[in-house]
Symmetry: C2
Subunit: 572 residues, 2 copies
Amino acid sequence: MNIDTVPFAAEPAAPRTGLPKARDMSHHLNSITKRREANKLKELYKYAAIPGMIPMAGGVPSPAIFPFETLSADILRYDHLPLNPPRIPKKQGLFEWLFSSSSPVTDKINIPKYAPDPTDPMAIQLATSLQYAAATGPPAFPVWLRKYVETVFKPAFADWDVLLDVGATDAMTKVCSMMLSEGDSVLVEEWTYPGAMNAYLPYDVNVVGLPMDHEGIIAADMDKVLAEWDVEKQGRFPRMLYTVPTGQNPTGATMLADRRREVYEICSKYDIVIVEDEPYYCLFMDEYVPQGVKLSPVAQASRDAETSEGGKGNDAFLKSLPPSFLHFDTDGRVIRFDTFSKTSCPGSRLGWVTSSPIFIERLTRISECGTQAPSGFATALTLTMLNHWGWDGYVRWLRGIKANYRMKRDWMLDALADSFHLESDSNGLNPLVITTPFGRRFTGYARPNPASAEGRWDEKRGLTGAHGKPLISYIPPSAGMFVFLGVHLSGHPEYAALGDDATRILADRLWRVLAKHHVLFAPGWAFDPEGPHNIGGEGMGYFRLSFSIVTYEETRDAMEVFAKVLGKFLNK
Amino acid sequence: MNIDTVPFAAEPAAPRTGLPKARDMSHHLNSITKRREANKLKELYKYAAIPGMIPMAGGVPSPAIFPFETLSADILRYDHLPLNPPRIPKKQGLFEWLFSSSSPVTDKINIPKYAPDPTDPMAIQLATSLQYAAATGPPAFPVWLRKYVETVFKPAFADWDVLLDVGATDAMTKVCSMMLSEGDSVLVEEWTYPGAMNAYLPYDVNVVGLPMDHEGIIAADMDKVLAEWDVEKQGRFPRMLYTVPTGQNPTGATMLADRRREVYEICSKYDIVIVEDEPYYCLFMDEYVPQGVKLSPVAQASRDAETSEGGKGNDAFLKSLPPSFLHFDTDGRVIRFDTFSKTSCPGSRLGWVTSSPIFIERLTRISECGTQAPSGFATALTLTMLNHWGWDGYVRWLRGIKANYRMKRDWMLDALADSFHLESDSNGLNPLVITTPFGRRFTGYARPNPASAEGRWDEKRGLTGAHGKPLISYIPPSAGMFVFLGVHLSGHPEYAALGDDATRILADRLWRVLAKHHVLFAPGWAFDPEGPHNIGGEGMGYFRLSFSIVTYEETRDAMEVFAKVLGKFLNK
C-alpha cells in the first residue's frame, strides 16, 4: 500500500467482449511477485471521493505551488508527412528535401493548470497531470489505448487490459522481474535485441536462440527445440519467449498471420508466455520493390489504396498491418509492448502493455512501487496531441511515419542495388527486372563500374566463377529501421589461416576500416545470443545498417564507400 | 549493451575534491546486480562522435518526424511565494488567501526543436530532449545537480556522483533490486513509509523497526539492536537502513547533525548501507512556536535572517538545513534520494540519487535496461525552469515552498491548540505561554468551551484528575507535511473489554466516525512495520494528519470536529 501516491487502486478489467476470459497464468509469477500486496487502504480512497471531505489522509502537495501554470506546444499537423513521397528526392543537391530548414505548419495545443471543469476525471489539466497519480495514469489515457487495442489488435480473449509504462525497455525489465528466477530458460530469436538481453541475462538465464527466416521464428524448428528439451542437460523448461515479430531487430523480419498463429499454438502447447515487443509495428512497410519494377495490378491497387488520403486509405493501412499475437491469444499468455517512441518521440518515455488480468494486475503493483505513472508532462502532452488530431488524424499521422520509413528503406536498398550487382538467391534472375516475392534473399557481387547505372557483369575483372565471389547477402526488411547485411568473409584471403575466430576477427577489422572511411555500422555480434544461425552461418559476418537518420545523399555515399572498401577488403 | 538507446556510457566519477575516495562497497551487491554488464560497444560511440561520420549504427528516429516543434510553459516567478506569510490569512472569509483565483504573474519559457547551436551538448532542444538518451540524462542536468550536492550537502568523500531517476520510489525499487536477496534483513524507523515497504517486503525480508524520538532513530537503541543481533534467531545480519531523516513520514521527526553523525558511525561500525530518502529536506521548517509566544532574541534574529529577501536570506536558509548523511560519509555507504516532487511537482517524475561510484555505476546499468533517462519533457522543462530562475532564484523558490509548508503546519498546530487544552509533557506548564524546545511532546485534554479562545481548564466538567483524561499526544513536526497524532484509546470505556486488539479496533472505529463527519485522516497502522514502539505504545492509536492541501478554514473546521468527535468517542 502506498497511501501517499496511489489515490486509486487498479481494479481488474471487466470482460470487454463476449469471448472467453483468459486462463489462469499465476504459475508464471516468481516468488517475489507473488508476495506483492495490493493496496490495503482501498476504503480510504472511497471515502476520499466523497464531496465535502476534508482531505488530511494523503501526502500530496497543493497544485497551487506547482511552478507550471500552463504548458503549450506547437505540434505538426497529422498530415505533415506525405503518404507517397517520390523515390528520389526532387530538391536540388539531393539534400533531404523533406526536412528543409523552412518552418513547417504547426498547430498550438495548450494545457491549463485548471480545466474549465476541474472535477471532470477525463479533463487534462496540470493540477492533475503534475500531481501524484495512480500507476494506471490519467484515466483518459487507458480509455484511448483500449480503443486502439480493440480496433487494431482485436484480442481473442475478453478480459485483457492495458497499463502505461515508461517505454518497452521499462516494460521488459518489469516483466522479467515479474516472471524470472535465477536459472530460468528464455527463448529468443537467433538474432535478438541486445536491450532486452540486458533485462534477462542478469538472471543467469539459459538463452536459446530459435532459427529464423524472413518471417522470423520458424515454427517447426521451435517445436523441435521444445519437443527435444532435456531438463538434465539444458536446465529448466523455458517459460518465456521474447520476440520482436514486426521488423525484427536486427533482421527486419516480420511474422505474418499464419506464422504468428503457428508460433502461438506451439507456445500454448508448451505453456510458454509470449513477450511480444512491437516498437516497429506501425512501421510495417511490406515488401521492397526494386526501382523500375512494376507491381502486379493487384499489388499496385493495394499500394494505391494504402497511400491515398481519407478514410479508405486509413482503413487500408490498418488492414495492411500484420496481426498481433493477441489476435490469436485465447489463453491470455501474450504480454504485448507498444511504445510512442517511434510514432511520437523516444524522449516521451511512454508506452503501454496489453495483457491478461493477472499480468496487468501484477505489473500495476510493480509500477506502483517503482516508476508509478509515467511523467505527467509526457502523458498530458501526448494525450492532448492525440485528442487534437483525433482518431482518424492519428491514423493518418502513423501512415505518414510509415511512408517516411519506407522511403528511407528504399533509399538504402536502391543504393545497395546501384553499388553491387545483385542476384536473388532463389532463381538467379536479376532482381532489377522482376518483381521480388516477399522475403527473398539478395546476394551482391562486385560491379565492374559502380558509377554507371547501366554497368552489368564484366568477365574481364578476373573474379572467380561467372559472377566473381559473393560479397554480401541480405533479405530486404519488411518493417523497422534496419538492413541486416551479411558479408561473405569466408572469401577473405586470410579466412582459413585465422582459424575458429576468423569471422569475428575479420568482421571487426572490416568494421574499423569502414569507420575510418566515415561509415558507421552496428556490428552483428552485438545481436547474437550465441547459438547456431539459420540467417548467417559459417563464414558470414553481419552488420546492422540503420536508415532512420541518414539523408539520401549520406545513404548513397555510404553504400558506394562500402562497396569499394568491401571489394578491396575481400580481394586484397 | 544497448546500442540503440545508450549513446554514451557512464564513466566512473572523477574525484571532485581532495578528500579520500569511497571504500569498496561491492560486497553489498546481490548476484543479479553483479551479473549486469556494462556497454560492450563503448568504442562505437567514440567513432560516432567523429564529425562527418555517416551514422548507420544507432537505431533512433529522426527528430524531423517528432511531432513536437516547440514546447513552452508559463511558470511562476521564483519569488511568487512570500517568505513570511501572516499567521492567520488576512483575506475575508478566511479562504486560502494565498491562492486566490486571480492569475499569478508568470514568465514564459520556450524550448525549440533546435537550439541556436544544436551541437552544444549543454543546449536544451527538443531534437535532443525527445530523442533516446543515455540513462544519465541530458549532460547539463548532472552538472546542475552536482553543484547542488556540493553546495548543500558537502559529501565527505571525493568520488561521489549523481544519477537521475524517475522519483524516489523508482530509486528505492532500483536500490532494492541492486542489493537485496530473499531473506535479507532491513532496518527501518519504528514508524515508516509504506511506499518503501512495498519495495523491500516482496523480498521476504526481516524488517526491524528502530526506536525513535523527535529526532528520529535513537542511536543507542540502534547500537543495541545490532550488538545483540542473533543470526540463528533473527536471520541474516542487516545490510540496509532505510530512513527518512528530515520530516520523517509519518512522525515528522528530523535528525539534526549530532544524531546523524551518531547513526552514521553505527552504520559504519556494522557495515550497513544507509538509504537516505529525503523528499522533505527543503521543507525543514524548524520548531513550532505557539501563537503569541515570543522567540528568544537569538532565535528571532535567526528566523528574521532566514525569512528576509536577498543573498543573506538565501545563505541563512541553506545554513538552516540539517546536514545530509553524505556530509559524514567517509566510507561512501550512503545512497541518498532527492526529488523534485515537493519542490516542483510530483508529476514530473524526476529526482536523483547521490552516492559512491560503485552504486551509481550499478544503478546506471539498472536504469539503462529499465527506465532509461527520465522523460525528456520533464528534464527539458525542469532544467529550462532552473536555468531561467538561476541558482539564487531557485534557492529563493525553495524558501517560498518552505514558508508555505511552515504556514500550513502552524495552521494545523494552532487549530489543535485552540481545540484542545494542551500541556507539554516534560514540564507540565502551559505551552501557550512559554517557548517550547524543539521536539517537545504535547498532550491535549478536553476544553470546556472549544469555541472560546479564552476557554481554559474547567474543573466542573467532571473529568477525572486535574485535567480530565488525556485525549491526544503529538510532537510538532519539524519538517514535511504531517502531524502524527496519537489518541489515548486506553481511555475508551470498552478498551479493557476488547482485549488484545482493542487499539486497532477502536482506532478503526474512530477513523470511520471521523470520515462520516467528513474529516479524513490516514490510519497509523499503515505506517507500522510491526515492532515495539517508543512513539506510541500500549493503548495509543495513531493517525497521520496531512496539512499540505487543506485550506485554513478546512483546517480549523477539521480540528474542531475532531475535538468534538473524539471527546464524545472516548467518553461515551
